[in-house]
Symmetry: C2
Subunit: 234 residues, 2 copies
Amino acid sequence: MIPIHKDSQWQGISDCKNCGIREMALFADLQDEDFSLIHTPIDTLKFEASEIVYSENQHAGYLFTIRHGAIKLVRNASDGRERIVRVLRTSDVFGLEALLKAQYETEAIALETTELCRIPLEVIHQLSQQTPRLHQRLMERWHKALKDADDWIASINFGSARQRVAQMILKLRLTHTPDITALYSRQDMGAMSDLKLETVSREMSRWTQLGVIQPLDKKGRMYKIMDEETLLNA
Amino acid sequence: MIPIHKDSQWQGISDCKNCGIREMALFADLQDEDFSLIHTPIDTLKFEASEIVYSENQHAGYLFTIRHGAIKLVRNASDGRERIVRVLRTSDVFGLEALLKAQYETEAIALETTELCRIPLEVIHQLSQQTPRLHQRLMERWHKALKDADDWIASINFGSARQRVAQMILKLRLTHTPDITALYSRQDMGAMSDLKLETVSREMSRWTQLGVIQPLDKKGRMYKIMDEETLLNA
DNA sequence: CGAGCGCTTGACCGGCGTCAACACCCGTGG
DNA sequence: CCACGGGTGTTGACGCCGGTCAAGCGCTCG
């Protein structure tokens, strides 16, 4: 089995109590005394693009939350095709299935340089036995994951290639600056929407041509959205 | 807002303690004393095919579990296209988002004659405050819903029309007799897999032609699966 | 500066959508 | 009892969208 982390990935032990993204995180409304219940260290790990966080069927012992970066959840078909089932970004939680099963159900791979908090299952179990405050937060996470999954089906996996690419552009906007969109390789975008990379490329060129989006780099990853309306009604 | 149920749908008050499907249900491991905490009646409702259980954005006050039948969860695009994000069957729970939001996020419609238990939110809240036993069960439901959603993307919404229809045939097998598959209208099958109904029909004809499946009725709904292997490797 | 990777673009073709005709099942009413 | 009509499934003809194969370009990094 693939080791869960190499030394080069280890970034230190997380200080949850004073964490900058604590409001968004799983432990948002824990009290000071609750933190004293955490006996197992929560590590901070760093992954470079395309590094594997865990693989399908690997033993599941941790939950993860994203400090910054992005993760793709992947299912590999028996014939080798790769399908991206969901993309998670800053403050999202993944690996929730660890709470119920001994194995992860998808593969998790970094899409860019990504920093994670790795929370051992024991920590969750200790906390949830002794304080009820975690349950609500966990349920919020399940809810968000499920809603994201349903959105994924209803937006970027629905309709013509043109519509799918338009929806991807909209979906991958930066949270704090919604007129900028941060995309991924054409290959990955294809695996998200069940299109071939050439088709994605063509539709991207078309939107650029029409002035609906405007490239901000030369790698085809960052674009400024000029005409949101047109993308919505594609 | 659409009323949550008409008198004609009302089938009586559920007796959860002695429910036949209790092992599969949310209340599987409640003790006798826990049932005494249920003060609000849990109704049993019956819906005919194409009747609406709830609509998108309708006020969410209940969780549902399926006693028997099938429900489609639908998102309606602004241009009128209908997308089925998931299909639920006997013993599945839906409307979980009611636990966190005041509105349902999808529309729920009966695919066939379906009997539901309708559980008021108060019941869940009462029980989960006073007994911890429900939490685990609820989490199992979130987990199953999320896994189903991911499977949906990775199987029946992935690859060629041929592969999608093959996956649908496999996915919609009867739980107790897995060599029989119970399908829906070509229209609905199309909305599940993002294909046109004619394409679904053609691929169905092709599998029948090849002897991979064999019709059991004249409406194109029930088939016997003769060659599972071929469907899997389509 | 050259190798290699990812993106783009073109030419071609096949799969799927579109439009339409027809078959079949069933319920209704003559 | 049969005639009729609507709803659903099937099948055909045709055209276009998106997949395939291939060439070329621009970055980036040795």
